[in-house]
Symmetry: C2
Subunit: 336 residues, 2 copies
């Protein structure tokens, strides 16, 4: 820890976040479940195999094209449960609200949460509301935690990528990150930019229903595709090769990224998943994905390799190769 203070980087989801977790949190709280650093912890309790996860949402602005802090908060936790192969069942919601926040804005947020909860078929069963004096928080923060049931035969985790596996993505990258930044700065107001925030549990279910042996699911949120692939490469002690031309990206997102000088590989997604599956089963899984609304643009974007474990290598459109590192530095605070 170079700094003696918390900096924005510590919340980026990139290298500094990892350092904070490794140097401060794990030494205190470390246990076999937490140490795995997966999207959810999976454990047995009372004979049931459960997934459990938590996320706090501090996105700015709270309303943006394609969603708001409420829909994001439900999607985020539904997705973190889904990434372990769990069926999300029950969510908790904790609000921290700044004094003076408009009730009608809260109502709008609750309405969004209800809509996504209905779509994802989950129930909000417990909650908490704190109000802090004006200036002690910026508008509203929402924590959601969730529980889901993991089928006994499912073992999906960041540790399970194997050399030879195919790397799939469920659709275009960087939509959420670029949309939030643009909305915050009031840029590209006439463009079709839109957050991809979506609940992925039904997509996951379709993929599991193919009977394919899925090794890894991961949603590339903070830190983007690049950081998430690096995490998997480290957890599984494998290398991951990806092909730039195969990565789906919306034109408007690409154009905005170029103007802003930002790399879409590091921009957050809130309705996408990475799946790592045996090469032989990739086509069947892709076909199932493409039949669902959130998987229409699913693509095979890379392969798991044995050499250079822990590294992610991109084969560029112009025929070169470059190592893709984790996000270092904060690309964008309050992205989710």
């Amino acid at each position: 820890m170079v700094s003696d203070k918390i900096i924005l980087d510590h919340g980026s989801g990139g290298r500094s976040s990892q350092e904070l977790i490794e140097k401060l949190f794990l030494p205190r709280f470390g246990n076999s479940l937490l140490n795995e650093l997966n999207d959810s912890a999976v454990f047995e309790l009372g004979g049931a195999k459960l997934a459990f996860t938590t996320d706090s949402f501090v996105v700015d602005p709270i309303f943006f094209p394609g969603g708001d802090i409420g829909s994001l908060a439900i999607c985020g936790t539904v997705n973190d449960l889904s990434m372990r192969g769990a069926r999300p069942s029950y969510l908790s919601v904790g609000f921290i609200i700044e004094e003076g926040f408009l009730i009608k804005e809260l109502e709008q947020i609750l309405f969004s949460m209800e809509k996504v909860a209905f779509e994802a078929d989950i129930q909000i069963v417990t909650g908490d509301t704190k109000v802090v004096p004006k200036g002690a928080a910026d508008k509203i923060f929402i924590n959601t935690s969730g529980i889901g049931l993991v089928p006994a035969n499912i073992d999906i985790a960041g540790q399970n990528a194997r050399p030879g596996d195919a790397v799939l993505i469920s659709g275009t990258i960087a939509d959420h990150g670029i949309t939030i930044l643009s909305a915050r700065e009031g840029l590209f107001l006439d463009s079709p930019l839109k957050s991809d925030a979506s609940p992925l549990n039904h997509l996951v279910q379709k993929m599991l229903n193919t009977g394919s042996e899925i090794h890894v699911f991961r949603d590339p949120t903070r830190g983007g595709l690049a950081t998430t692939l690096n995490e998997i490469a480290i957890q599984s002690q494998v290398a991951i090769d990806i092909y730039e031309e195969a990565i789906p990206i919306n034109e408007s997102v690409l154009a905005a990224s170029e103007i802003l000088g930002l790399d879409p590989l590091y921009m957050a997604n809130e309705g996408k998943l990475i799946a790592i599956v045996p090469q032989s089963q990739a086509e069947a899984v892709l076909a199932a994905m493409r039949e669902t609304p959130y998987g229409r643009q699913a693509a095979l974007i890379g392969q798991v390799k044995e050499q250079n474990p822990g590294k992610v290598v991109m084969h560029t459109t112009i025929g070169g190769k470059r190592i893709i590192d984790m996000l270092t530095g904060e690309q964008l605070p309050r992205i989710c």
Copy 2:
């Protein structure tokens, strides 16, 4: 909703909080589990009977005599699980930290969390950290959610008080609330005021081990003893009589309350529980409580009655009777 804005009252745990829940949250999210409005939701998942709860902590100051925001965050969730008779097992932790927060203060908070987690014998298995720019949050907020296993034969809930039952409290009231207020204002610095923040799961286990038929557990946090008893009276559709002279209170707390003009009945507790049990089993339960560190000053403070359902009546020390209402208005923001 009289106001069109969120006011501090909405986070008080008193009448305005109830209104917010009833008028905004339940119409959107309402389901049989949420509607019960208990400290935890209890449901079956994969054959296991589970309790699930969440709380966000925004206490100011973050360090205070008897604890800090970290110990409070663990105790609060351990206790909410325990209040349904669950054995707390796994907790999640979500941090929202203001840019510039001192790492050494974070370390101190983590140390407190570790200590209480060890004492309560729970594991922190999943977490999340967000950092917001300076000024977007006040120092640090912590959400904890938790899961516990509820034995199949246990049914403890706010709905279960029965006329004739005895009302027990595990110790002195108002310690947390008065301590926080005094620490915030820099008052009574030489007094023995100390928060009672404690994990109550072992106390609860001792009480359950007596084999007594416990109807209700509730921890009187925000809104204090008075508000919590009102909630139980409404949920169970009974009246509750309490005896002022039987309610344990530390002298320093009483003195500080009088100087500050605050009613200890409405001040938060973070290491106390109310238990409602059949009169015939009250002595056995009290005896078990008094054998534990957090139950030494346990007392029988009242009785459940049939007439005037929904009302709490206090028999005062000077021989009078008065109706004790829920907290109306915010006695103290950011108490937990």
